[in-house]
């Protein structure tokens, strides 16, 4: 019951609904592109290079005659796979580190906290470049680097949340009546920190989309056989002076996807807050009477999410 009302609150917010709509569209595009694209995204044809947008080529063609619309559609699949995998890795790493940093014996707990503080400073792209130097560039490198990189951020945010929840009376009561650590974690801690997790998950996915675009642009992400928005940008960059309009489409696709994930994060945060949930949509954030100040990392717009 409670969950349904949170979802309803999410979709009642225009930004939340628009974000959910775009992401749903992306998912459909990813599935459809597995079986159908207007034209084959990899077929080159020197006679139809740099065609302007037309009915046959919705976004025009690139320098080797590939249909940009088909390529952009095919690349949604890559984006979805990277974003979901990176999100899963980030949540697993984050949850494991956060649990290690909050539920264990004091020395382990504090050592983990220091480790999290140290690791959170490392820029994800440097982790990715180190991995690319060792293994060569690939989408797996992107997923591992952003997953681990953002996982540490998740750990830092949720560690504080877990520490707070663990000190609550209902957890003490559950412990006193014989519940083990695993049971406490599953029944009390996880449901209470779930909103924070969902927010962080969407931010992690946004980061991974930007990282994939950046690394594929540099040549260390998607391989030549994989359609990728970042890779397309790199291909088109060489002819930017002559055909500047072609770069609009892949860039727009990345921006809208990241925007949707960021907005979804904001909307979930507001919708999950019972104090904001029952207000009419659109006034949720006005007045700024959110319970936590801007210094709370779970609630400030994550400053580390930039490409």
């Amino acid at each position: 019951m409670r969950r349904r009302s949170a979802l309803g609150a999410l979709l009642r917010r225009p930004a939340g609904a628009a974000a959910a709509g775009w992401l749903a569209l992306l998912l459909v595009g990813a599935l459809v592109s597995r079986v159908w694209t207007p034209l084959d995204p990899f077929t080159t044809d020197p006679y139809s290079a740099w065609l302007p947008p037309s009915a046959a080529h919705l976004f025009g063609t690139d320098g080797v005659g590939r249909d940009i619309a088909s390529y952009v559609l095919a690349a949604t699949g890559t984006t979805v796979v990277v974003a979901v995998s990176a999100g899963v890795v980030a949540v697993l790493v984050g949850l494991a580190l956060a649990a290690l940093g909050s539920l264990t014996a004091r020395p382990v707990r504090e050592a983990t906290a220091v480790l999290i503080d140290v690791l959170v400073a490392f820029p994800t792209i440097l982790v990715a470049m180190a991995l690319a130097a060792a293994f060569g560039g690939s989408l797996a490198v992107v997923v591992v680097a952003t997953g681990v990189g953002y996982g540490v951020t998740i750990a830092r945010v949720s560690r504080a949340e877990i520490r707070r929840v663990v000190r609550e009376d209902y957890v003490t009561a559950a412990r006193a009546s014989g519940a083990g650590t695993a049971a406490v974690l599953r029944r009390h801690v996880l449901p209470n920190i779930a909103p924070v997790f969902v927010v962080q998950l969407s931010l992690a996915m946004a980061t991974s989309v930007l990282a994939e675009a950046g690394l594929s642009f540099l040549g260390y992400g998607a391989s030549a056989e994989t359609a990728s928005w970042g890779r397309l940008l790199a291909d088109l960059q060489k002819f930017l002076g002559v055909h500047p309009w072609t770069v609009v489409w892949p860039g727009l696709a990345i921006t809208l996807t990241v925007l949707a994930l960021n907005l979804l994060g904001d909307a979930v945060r507001d919708a999950a807050d019972p104090r904001l949930r029952d207000r009419p949509a659109g006034t949720g954030r006005a007045g700024g009477r959110r319970p936590a100040g801007p210094a709370d990392p779970a609630r400030s717009p994550a400053p580390e999410v930039t490409s």
């Binding site: 400073a121 820029p123 440097l126 180190a130 260390y220 930017l240 925007l259 400053p303 930039t306 490409s307």
Partner: protein
């Protein structure tokens, strides 16, 4: 303060140590034999062994690490595996492009993000504030690569007033020319970073509007805006300072991508090409330098924040 400073410096040192281990271990996972790839397909086993010995690759990994880490303490990053030249010299030269670029980007980001963030917060009930918010939300989602491409298209194709590719060969000999070639790259990074700073500033100011001291000042006859600027802003700026450390990570990411896009001979571009060549010692040195810079800025920001914040200063007294 001394206690805080010692603790913070210890954390910085620990960060450097952890970074050096992680970077070293990751690059040792490298499949294949570096010595073999230097010798090429025609190298005899004896030549390969000689190269391996000269690079110290026949030593145990721990010894190799200690060698490298010992060099780091003397600011010696070793020699390139491919060309044999000292890595530290080249890194220092490239920093002459990357550091000014990062500095200019930060200035652009602050100049755009903070004032507009304050304005948007003060007007958050009015359409103009909402429009600013939407623009910032949109800009924060733009990938740096694409922002740079659009600026190149705009300036290189249409306006033609600023250089969009490269850096003067003689470096900073002609400061005006060098500076001009960094303007568009810095604006690219600065706009995207500025959007994030904008959102942070705005939510900090909106929070401050609700604080008792702003309301008390307003009750005593100040306009809300004046009360905010007089009493709220110092607090807001403090929290902006505290996120600058995290922003620097964004500057590094931006520099790597933007230097490639604008063909700037900086550390980021050097890293990208050395990863391609798998020049192990150079990649190690570059990653270590960039990480050390990020950690150092984090340290400075924390110390400055501590000095500026009267509440934290009192704790020290």
């Amino acid at each position: 303060m001394t206690r805080f400073l010692l603790g913070r410096v210890a954390l910085f040192a620990l960060g450097l140590a952890v970074a050096s281990v992680l970077i070293f271990v990751t690059l040792r996972l490298l499949p294949g034999d570096v010595a073999q790839s230097i010798a090429g397909t025609t190298g005899s086993p004896a030549q390969v062994a000689a190269i391996r010995a000269s690079l110290g690759l026949d030593q145990p990994v721990v010894v190799q690490y200690l060698d490298w880490a010992g060099g780091l303490l003397r600011l010696d990053l070793g020699e390139s595996l491919v060309t044999g030249t000292p890595v530290a010299d080249e890194v220092a030269e490239k920093l002459g492009v990357t550091l000014p670029l990062a500095g200019m980007s930060l200035v652009v980001g602050l100049a755009v993000g903070v004032p507009l963030g304050v304005v948007a917060a003060i007007r958050h009930h009015r359409p103009s504030g909402a429009v600013l918010g939407v623009v910032a939300q949109l800009l924060a989602a733009v990938p740096v690569v694409w922002a740079g491409m659009l600026l190149i298209a705009l300036f290189g194709v249409t306006l033609r007033v600023l250089p969009t590719q490269g850096f003067p060969v003689d470096g900073w000999e002609e400061p005006g020319r060098a500076l001009r070639s960094l303007v568009l790259p810095a604006v690219t990074i600065g706009l995207v970073e500025g959007a994030v700073l904008f959102r942070f500033t705005r939510s900090a100011v909106v929070g401050a509007l609700d604080e008792d001291y702003v309301r008390a000042a307003a009750a005593k006859g100040m306009t809300t805006t004046r009360a905010l600027l007089r009493h709220g802003l110092p607090n807001v700026l403090l929290s902006v300072v505290s996120v600058l450390g995290l922003q620097v990570a964004g500057l590094v990411v931006g520099a790597v991508v933007v230097e490639q896009l604008f063909a700037l001979p900086g550390l980021g571009r050097m890293l990208v090409s050395d990863v391609g060549r798998r020049d192990l010692t150079k990649v190690q040195g570059e990653l270590m330098t960039l990480t050390a810079l990020v950690l150092l800025v984090g340290l400075v920001v924390d110390v400055v924040h501590r000095r500026l914040d009267p509440r934290l200063r009192e704790q020290d007294a």
